[in-house]
């Protein structure tokens, strides 16, 4: 009874407040209804484009990926229980070694399933980022340049500089060999190969070659990548359910 009375009250009140319900209807019809996807996407996407910026800020006309933007996002993705997986899309020329390794380590230690796709190019420090994910894809036409690291700016001409550079190089090699199926010697051979790049040392590895060397897991684009990610998410769910029992 109470409900009915309230309903009746509710119906009477608008008639007194608003003289024309027809006007209200016309206004409602005039609004466009944008189709909305479900509010929370369970798969989030990180794009790593342009140069990976290090400690030096690049001028604004450069397209850059800043680690101070990416790392809090990765932390947020790890903490948000609604996010179940992460897709990393790479089209980068490389950049700062420390910043690139920082992003790679963050992605590798993420507890949620991660899949990376290299589109266009994933050069130099983009290589550890690509292999840091649980499964990596490369587009058939995409390339990855593997080359030794280099220093810019003031270099002191002492043997210690070389040792420092050599140690930094080992960090990259160790990370890549640990997170992919490539052998250390094979990776070093590609890195120090002569005659492949004009006036430079290294190798430009194209799509299926990267898979052949064991650097990348498979050739494919966004479709296979999302399919794989959903598979990994399902496996992750099964595992966590199994632990509860």
């Amino acid at each position: 009874m109470d409900h009915q009375m309230q309903n009746n009250d509710g119906q009477e009140q608008p008639k007194e407040d608003r003289p024309s319900p027809l006007m209200e209807k016309i206004q409602q019809l005039g609004q466009t209804n944008v189709p909305q996807l479900s509010q929370d996407s369970k798969i989030h996407c990180l794009t790593i484009v342009g140069q990976i910026e290090g400690h030096l800020q690049l001028p604004p006309q450069n397209k850059t990926t800043k680690y101070e933007h990416l790392i809090p996002q990765i932390v947020a993705i790890e903490q948000n229980p609604k996010i179940e997986g992460l897709l990393v899309i790479l089209n980068t020329v490389g950049g700062d070694v420390e910043a690139g390794l920082a992003i790679s380590e963050m992605l590798a230690s993420l507890s949620k399933p991660t899949v990376s796709i290299v589109l266009g190019g994933g050069h130099s420090i983009g290589v550890p980022i690509a292999v840091s994910c649980d499964h990596s894809f490369i587009a058939e036409t995409a390339t990855m340049t593997i080359h030794p690291i280099r220093l810019t700016g003031l270099v002191i001409g002492v043997p210690q500089t070389f040792e420092y550079l050599d140690k930094m190089q080992d960090r990259v090699i160790n990370f890549v060999t640990k997170h992919s199926n490539i052998e250390e010697q094979q990776f070093k051979d590609l890195m120090f190969a002569k005659g492949n790049l004009t006036r430079d040392i290294g190798t430009n590895v194209v799509g299926s070659d990267a898979v052949q060397y064991g650097l990348i897991d498979s050739v494919g684009g966004v479709g296979p990548a999302l399919q794989k990610l959903n598979e990994l998410i399902d496996m992750n769910k099964d595992e966590s359910e199994g632990l509860v029992q």
Binding site: C45, L58, A76, L86, L151
Partner: protein, 70 residues
Amino acid sequence: MILYTMMPEELIFPLDSSTYNTQKVVTHNGIPLLVEKLEGPECRVLRVMSSDPNHYMNDAYMPGTKITLT
């Protein structure tokens, strides 16, 4: 003049520090955006910085659109 050097361009020809202040990252309605400052509170969206793919479907924050910061 040709400079054969391994030094990055911005180290040899440093830009005025004011050019670095034309862009900034703001959060508008929960969406992180890279914007270019225009006159007054107006800004032009350069890039959506979010990791949520749904944020890229929002027409109001398409790169190139102008937003007013409050």
